[in-house]
Symmetry: C3
Subunit: 131 residues, 3 copies
Amino acid sequence: MGKLKVLFHVNELERWQRTLLNVINFVKDVGQENADIEVVANGAAVSAYSDKCQIAGGLGETSTSCGKANGELYEEMNKLAQMGIRFVACRNALRMHSLDENMLSPFITVVPAGITEIAKKQAEGYAYIKA
Amino acid sequence: MGKLKVLFHVNELERWQRTLLNVINFVKDVGQENADIEVVANGAAVSAYSDKCQIAGGLGETSTSCGKANGELYEEMNKLAQMGIRFVACRNALRMHSLDENMLSPFITVVPAGITEIAKKQAEGYAYIKA
Amino acid sequence: MGKLKVLFHVNELERWQRTLLNVINFVKDVGQENADIEVVANGAAVSAYSDKCQIAGGLGETSTSCGKANGELYEEMNKLAQMGIRFVACRNALRMHSLDENMLSPFITVVPAGITEIAKKQAEGYAYIKA
């Protein structure tokens, strides 16, 4: 039946861990070759794309607001990106959170508006999942 | 490729600001003439359709539970409605929150059940986005 | 136009009440014979499938973290299951929350990965709703 196409939408920083766990479990279940996965971050979730995210504290109620300490979250994304999972950032959200898109890791793709990307992908047959 | 059809689902009062910001950024990105947008509110989110929403305090943990003070949120909706964005309220939710649907602004459409509306719109090809 | 197919995704314990209310209102609105409903739980939400869930306290900030006290939530699910609504649990989530799937009520179906189930159902034309 071809690849299972899934778009994960994450718009809160504290939902990243859950999102990545969902991605990992999905890939394990169907096999990497059968999964076509894109993760679109907008809102506060884009902060996880910055390595400054690891300096927690001011980001949320707990010190684990980025999900994982010391860049672990970022490392997991990087590993998943090597496996073909696409990570997308909303430019509006990056600006709103004063993040310089030129400083982002090369595995992250920036789109003008995250919502447009999500809408287009669903029109292309991607399932939508909000973590 | 025709208009991009998007349905925004909002069921929490504190997610209205985010939802409207998403709507605005989406319209800016694709152009008003290319966007077909409906916002469906159920649950506690319907309270934002009432002008009493501005009298915050008891609505949430903070005084900004309606997102914006003094009717700003409502004003933004009104502006977007003039641009063709449709705002829909779930009748079940209105009743549950003791809101009289005859007191709502004319730009708001009431449907018997928000979930039915969301299901039907997706069946018609609308992308689903939860803010 | 055939049955309206809807998949409800619940991944937080405190969203069960809202989810079941949505299901009930939807069925009331379109009629049981016109609704094809599946509820997929992953993450912490799977705990509601256990009868231990009623022993609240440690589960969240409030004692109502399971939504309803004394098995009311479970009873409602059971009633809905009798009406043909399917309840699905993610095996990864069950393991993560140390829940024995052999102890679950017979009306609950366990799938290897909740995300795969959600993706497949959307590919089959189910609308996605996140409560």
